[in-house]
Amino acid sequence: MTGMLDMDISSMMHAIVPALATTALPALPMAGINWHSVLFLLFAGLACGFAVGVVAADNVVRMALYLVFSLGATAGLFFLAGAEFLGAMQLMIYVGGTLVLLVFGVMLTAQAPFVSIKPSSSDRTLAAVAGASLLALLLTAAFSVDAWMAPGAGVVPAPTATPLGMALIGVRVDTPPSGSPSGGRVGYMLPFEIVSVHLLVVLVGAAYLARAKRRRTPRAIDAVASAMPVEPAVVATAAVTAPGRTTGGAKSALVGGGR
């Protein structure tokens, strides 16, 4: 059990991919190839490409499909970064849950005029400008820190599922990184609880918002009460004695009470 848990996917890849490469592509200069980098490039390309595809596609169904791919590739990137639990969660929650939800939405609203709503070319241009400037800003920021520019040390991390689970119930079992201001001792019990309550609220709220609107049929007693705001006693007697006479009683009371 421990061995299986300790087996990290990226380390497995480190072991397997070079073997495959050497056997399947002997002609290629395989010696310096860093397979981790190659896989990264693959997933990164997929993620970025499909993300751009999402932007570019006009058909909402295709957008949903591209998004699935993009998020899946992102999950791969998580694996490559050593966050295998998070990658799993990404696949399960996003690809398996959120996107299914989205696809449901697409299907529920996918009537002919709305499947493909094309933006105007000016919108496209504007979006391109905004995206380009934002990208430039983000990249400039990313490149402006030396520490981030250095290549990774390649330290294979310990499996993260257990430390994550323990952290979420308030116990930290992982090794704190050097220089961490909190000393790595901070658990996430409270956020965990908040998020769980939040999810419950969301569940209820979503159910309420998306519920089918049904016309409310008022009860007889409500009709009488709203018709006669003046004499509660009369309302009570009228309502109690004979529902059939309420209309007449209400009318007379209304006439009598009208100012």
């Binding site: 919108d123 504007l126 979006a127 905004a130 400037s133 934002l134 800003l137 920021a141 402006s144 820190v145």
Partner: protein
């Protein structure tokens, strides 16, 4: 039930019945019968009840204290008042009944003194308003023969006038168009009738008048004095929409206040020096006797001779009292004893005489106002603006007589000098009023001036020592003057005018009225047969006045003008009264329009005339055995006032003769003959001028034009008063109001103007600067908001765009500004 508790009960009830009537009419007036007609019934029933009670009291009195002829045998005595009960052999009953009214109070302590001359009287208090220290204010009674007589007289006349008025005021039962009131639009005033209100005021007046008569102390007199004043004001101003009437009411009220001011001074002098306002002796709560005013001024120990009371002596000799007390500072009790011992010396030195004079004259001031004496008589003729029954009851028979009554009641306290002042005031009044009456053409004004003149007679009589004569004339005059007024009311009712020049020849149309009025005229001029000594009521009273005046003139030749005034006044009276009668009833009609519409008044008005005319004839008679008004009044003669008095404080020494001396044969005959001669002359002159036309009145008037103009303008009294008092007051008022308007108002207006300027500047500042600031901020915010509103497009995608571009912009700007790495 003995008289002592019976009389206060009877007279108290008689007094309060009109008050009850007043209250009933006040609260239920318009609802009494048709248009308030029942009010007359209520008021008349009340006054009839009072009359019956008074009559009962009168009969009880006469039964208990038989009225006998005045004894003349003790002429030379110092106190010659006849003791009316002296024949029956027992003491005159002087009782000091307490508030409970049942405690027999025979005070044997000074029985001798009582026997010496204090008249029969009953006194006590019903209700004490306040008692503290020496001050005691109470509602009490002082009942003697005069009180009982006045009650009978007032209630009888009031009864007649109530009956008469219920006919006379008949118009008031319905809505009235008052032709004497011109509204701004030229029409006449139309108003609802005020029948009940008339009787309401009349009842209140009767209550007040009886209150004066029954009052046991001066404070109570003063209260009811003012009450009759206000009733008079109500009644004169009954037609208050008429400017004349409201002015006359105000004039009467204000002029009376002037007199009452003097009365207040007198009250203060009395109370400040003597500490009591009660007429009669009473018993204090501690059982000690509290001497009343009469006993203080005429103490029994001094044989009821007038002296200055101890209190006034000490009050006047204040400095000496202080010196004595200071010298005995170590032993205050001895000092007080020393003061008491020295009072006699100080009295002999004359201390307090002036104070007593001032007290007497002060009280007389009130009487001047109320009894319309010179110089305050100007209100009474104007008071004729009231309805005629009011003139008859209030302004001739009773209220104006209240002043004479008070002088009579207060007589023991008046010093000889005060009496002489009173006599002169009366003489001046009677002469002035009689001369004005000669030329007056308004029938009621003639009677009004006649009233003033007759009141002058009474005052003069009192002043020259004729206490009995004055009060006797008061009673007889009340009967015939009310008769005369009611007759004139009957004439006015028939002719709808007051102007005698439009009348004439009415005797045939109004036989009853003319007959009864003739009786009244004969009574007022004192018609009688001199040697048989038989005549109408006025004959007796007027003769006694003349006799007393003659006696006084004989004793004091320097004051003989008083007698001439009386004699001349008698002639003038005869002239103007018969001028009135002749102009009204005799001869040919002057205005046929008036004459043709004239008619005899209804029975309800004639019956009172007949009743009063009978009284006008017989009121002065003395029945065999002595029963008569004069002898009854004599029963009430204050102790010690029948004798000769010496005066000389204000005037050179003079003597006030004893009244019984005027009954001496020679005096009496002279007076009678004088009276007869003057009256006959007057009547003859009137007949010559107005019946036979031998001397045309126009010729006489033309011959003495300045004089007749002077008289027709009433001696210019109103003008003189206007010039002397009204105009200065108006001038001062204008000066004050000018000061107020010109200086004070200007100053305040200036302040206001300044404040307004400052406020205007503030407002400007507020409007431009502060409001501008606020409004500018608001409008700037508003316009910015309007502009910003355009940014909120509701386009979700644009928002995202803004966010993205905004983020980029912020970072770029931050990077450029801080020159640091973007993610540092």
């Amino acid at each position: 039930m003995d008289l002592e508790s019976l009389l206060p009960t009877l007279l108290g009830l008689a007094w309060l019945l009109p008050l009850a009537s007043f209250a009933v009419i006040l609260f239920a007036g318009p609802r009494l019968g048709n248009h308030g007609k029942g009010a007359a019934g209520v008021a008349t029933a009340a006054i009839v009840g009072s009359f019956v009670l008074s009559l009962f009291a009168f009969v009880s009195w006469v039964a208990q204290h038989p009225v006998r002829a005045v004894a003349h045998e003790d002429h030379g005595g110092a106190h010659a008042a006849a003791d009316p009960s002296h024949g029956s052999g027992d003491h005159a009953t002087t009782s000091h009944a307490t508030a409970a009214g049942h405690e027999a109070g025979h005070d044997t302590g000074h029985g001798d003194a009582v026997h010496a001359g204090s008249p029969v009287h009953y006194s006590g208090d019903w209700y004490t308003l306040y008692e503290g220290g020496r001050l005691k204010l109470s509602i009490g009674w002082y009942i003697d023969a005069l009180t009982v007589l006045m009650f009978v007289m007032i209630t009888f006349i009031a009864t007649c006038i109530h009956v008469y008025a219920s006919g006379y005021m008949h118009d008031e039962l319905h809505d009235i168009t008052d032709h004497e009131v011109h509204l701004a639009d030229g029409s006449h005033l139309h108003r609802p009738g005020r029948f009940h209100r008339f009787f309401q005021a009349l009842s209140l007046f009767c209550f007040s008048m009886l209150g004066i008569v029954i009052a046991g102390n001066l404070a109570m007199v003063f209260i009811f004095w003012e009450l009759v004043g206000i009733c008079s004001w109500f009644l004169i101003g009954f037609y208050y929409e008429r400017k004349n009437a409201s002015n006359a009411a105000n004039k009467a009220f204000i002029v009376n206040r002037i007199g009452d001011f003097g009365m207040l001074i007198g009250l203060m002098a009395l109370w400040g020096a003597l500490g009591t306002l009660h007429f009669a002796d009473s018993t204090g709560p501690d059982g000690h006797a509290r001497p009343g005013l009469f006993s203080l001024v005429r103490p029994p120990v001094a044989g009821h001779a007038q002296w200055v009371p101890d209190g006034m002596v000490k009050f006047a000799a204040e400095e000496k009292v202080g010196a004595v007390l200071r010298s005995h500072a170590d032993d205050p009790r001895a000092g007080v004893e020393q003061v008491e011992a020295k009072v006699e010396d100080w009295r002999d030195e004359g201390y307090g005489r002036w104070l007593l004079l001032v007290a007497g004259l002060g009280i007389f001031c009130g009487c001047i106002g109320k009894s319309a004496q010179f110089p305050l008589f100007v209100w009474l003729p104007d008071a004729m603006e009231g309805p005629t029954p009011v003139s008859a009851l209030v302004h001739s028979a009773t209220m104006v007589a209240a002043g004479v009554y008070l002088v009579g009641r207060f007589y023991p306290v008046l010093t000889p000098d005060a009496l002489l002042v009173i006599a002169y005031v009366g003489a001046i009044t009677l002469f002035i009023a009689a001369t004005i009456a000669l030329v007056a053409n308004d029938i009621k004004r003639v009677l009004a001036y006649s009233t003033v003149s007759q009141l002058g007679y009474m005052m003069l009589a009192l002043g020259v020592g004729g206490w009995l004569a004055g009060l006797f004339h008061l009673v007889t005059h009340a009967f015939f003057k009310s008769l005369l007024f009611l007759c004139s009311g009957s004439v006015i009712h028939a002719c709808h005018t007051n102007d005698m020049r439009k009348m004439g020849g009415l005797a045939k149309v109004m036989p009853w009225t003319s007959g009864t009025m003739l009786v009244g005229c004969l009574a007022i001029i004192g018609a009688g047969v001199p040697f048989l000594d038989i005549g109408l009521s006025g004959y007796y009273s007027k003769d006694s006045i003349l006799a007393q005046a003659l006696l006084f003139a004989r004793e004091n030749p320097s004051h003989s003008i008083l007698f001439y005034a009386v004699a001349g006044g008698a002639m003038l009276t005869a002239f103007y009264m018969f001028r009135l009668w002749f102009m009204t009833f005799a001869g040919h009609p002057r205005d046929h329009h008036v004459h043709d519409h004239a008619h005899e008044s209804p029975p309800v008005m004639v019956y009172p005339l007949v009743a009063l005319s009978i009284l006008a004839v017989v009121a002065g008679w003395t029945l065999p055995g002595g029963l008569g008004i004069a002898n009854m009044i004599e029963q009430a003669r204050p102790a010690g006032t029948g004798g000769t008095e010496l005066g000389g404080l204000l005037f050179s020494a003079f003597t006030v003769p004893a009244e019984h001396a005027s009954h001496a044969h020679d005096i009496h005959v002279t007076a009678s003959l004088t009276a007869f001669a003057t009256a006959a002359t007057g009547v003859l002159l009137a007949a010559l001028m107005y019946v036979w036309g031998v001397i045309p009145p126009a010729t006489v008037a033309a011959a003495v034009k300045p004089l007749s103009t002077f008289l027709a303008n009433r001696w210019y009294f109103d003008e003189i008063y206007r010039f002397l008092f009204v105009l200065p007051v108006l001038g001062i008022s204008q000066l004050v109001s000018g000061t107020d308007k010109g200086i004070i108002d200007r100053f305040i207006e200036g302040l206001a103007w300044g404040a307004k300027q400052v406020a205007g500047f503030d407002a400007w500042l507020d409007r431009t600067l502060i409001d501008g600031l606020v409004n500018g901020t608001a409008s700037a915010t508003y316009s910015v908001g309007l502009e910003l509103k355009k940014l909120q497009t509701g386009q979700l995608r644009q928002y995202v765009m803004f966010i993205a571009l905004g983020t980029v912009a912020i970072f770029v700007l931050a990077g450029l500004l801080f020159r640091s790495s973007f993610a540092g």
